[in-house]
Amino acid sequence: MKTLRARLMVAAMASLMLGACAVTGVGVEGDVGYVGGYYEPYGYDYGGWGVGYRVGPGRCCDHRDDHGDHGVGRGRPGHAPAYRPAPAGRAAPSIPGRSRAR
């Protein structure tokens, strides 16, 4: 009887520990389960940008038609864009311009 009781207690504690580890993340990759920090695959290049390869936002309030800063999605030539383009005629916004009070 005592043996059975001891086994039950150990089993209960083991279950509790497993549950606690799942909650705290202990044991997940040995990092207390911290969700963040991730290595990328190795062996790739991050450069090779050609002429005209621009990735940043435009300046505020650029409505210049010659730059075509509007939401009409062109996608790839001959194909409709996979995304839902912003309404035609609406200028692409820029980043926030207000400075943080110091």
Partner: protein
């Protein structure tokens, strides 16, 4: 006799288990990521890049490099096996650096992980998975921070979602040394833009360019938050990834400083869409990041 022995053995196991459990809970409780906002606010900006984490094998070396380059300072958090430094700019937390050893004989690429704000991380995870994403680290709660998870998008670009419990960082022009921009580089920028639009509700603006590649701006709240770009053609070894940019006064000077500090210049300083210079750099461990000049006059008027 046998029963007594077993009972004692059971009791010993019980005590050991209790000690281990206590230790585990204490270690987890020690890991206190800072709140995004202090004091907390109700301001939320889904789709905005609100945090970045660097995974690197040498925390001290990373601190030395980024501290010298951007004037960042660091607040250490250690819990169990995790060595983590909160990145501070003017005393405000803007990111983190986590030390992750790379096992001998293995090659892994240190990188900055982009955290995008979401209002509902449970729904976000479901939508992402329904549209082809994979869960790399499932949702986890942190007392002051909120809930976050790490995903890879349909092309494999890794990013994180963060539902901040203290609100998202306010929409100000980032100070010099702060994150100012994020760009996604993908095999098919348009399809990837559609994925993130479904996930975070972006407005998507096509940006015609001279290089024959697709470039789009992703915006929410009438502010540009990020761009999605076809991968550049200049290299055969390409994979989809996010890249985060720090605001600098002079991209050329910063690039020279990076080289002097043991890093590398991956894309030489060049004029970007707003007329200022950008460059892509790598820290001494190889983690890529961008720098971007941005003058006050570039956003001299508010769009709303």
């Amino acid at each position: 006799m046998t029963c007594t022995y077993r009972w004692r053995r059971g009791l010993a196991s019980l005590l050991a288990a209790a000690l281990m459990l206590g230790g585990a809970l204490a270690r987890a409780a020690d890991f206190q990521l800072p709140a995004l906002n202090s004091p907390a606010s109700d301001e939320h900006h889904p789709g905005k890049m609100v945090w970045a984490d660097l995974a690197t094998p040498d925390l001290a070396a990373a601190e030395k490099f980024y501290g010298a380059l951007f004037g960042w300072t660091f607040q250490h958090i250690r819990a169990g096996e995790v060595s983590y430094a909160v990145v501070l700019l003017g005393g405000r937390p803007i990111g983190g650096i986590v030390e992750k050893p790379i096992p001998a004989g293995q090659h892994q690429q240190p990188a900055w992980l982009t955290f995008l704000a979401t209002n509902n991380i449970d729904d976000g995870k479901k939508v992402a998975v329904a549209h082809g994403a994979k869960v790399l680290r499932d949702i986890k709660s942190y007392p002051l921070r909120g809930r976050q998870c790490v995903l890879s998008d349909p092309e494999g670009a890794v990013f994180a979602l963060l539902a901040s419990s203290s609100g998202d960082t306010p929409d100000y022009l980032p100070a010099t040394g702060d994150w100012i921009w994020s760009s996604l580089h993908a095999k098919d920028a348009g399809t990837e833009a559609a994925f993130y639009q479904n996930l975070l509700g972006y407005d998507v603006f096509d940006q015609p360019s001279d290089d024959g590649l697709e470039h789009v701006i992703l915006s929410t709240d009438n502010y540009a938050r990020a761009s999605a770009n076809d991968l550049a053609r200049g290299s055969a070894r390409r994979h989809s990834h996010w890249l985060n940019f720090v605001r600098v006064e002079n991209a050329a000077e910063t690039s020279a400083k990076v080289a002097a500090l043991g890093g590398r210049v991956l894309v030489e300083p060049r004029v970007d869409r707003h007329g200022g210079m950008v460059a892509v750099l790598a820290d001494p461990a190889g983690a890529p990041f961008g720098v971007m000049e941005w003058s006050e006059s570039d956003t001299k008027a508010e769009p709303k």
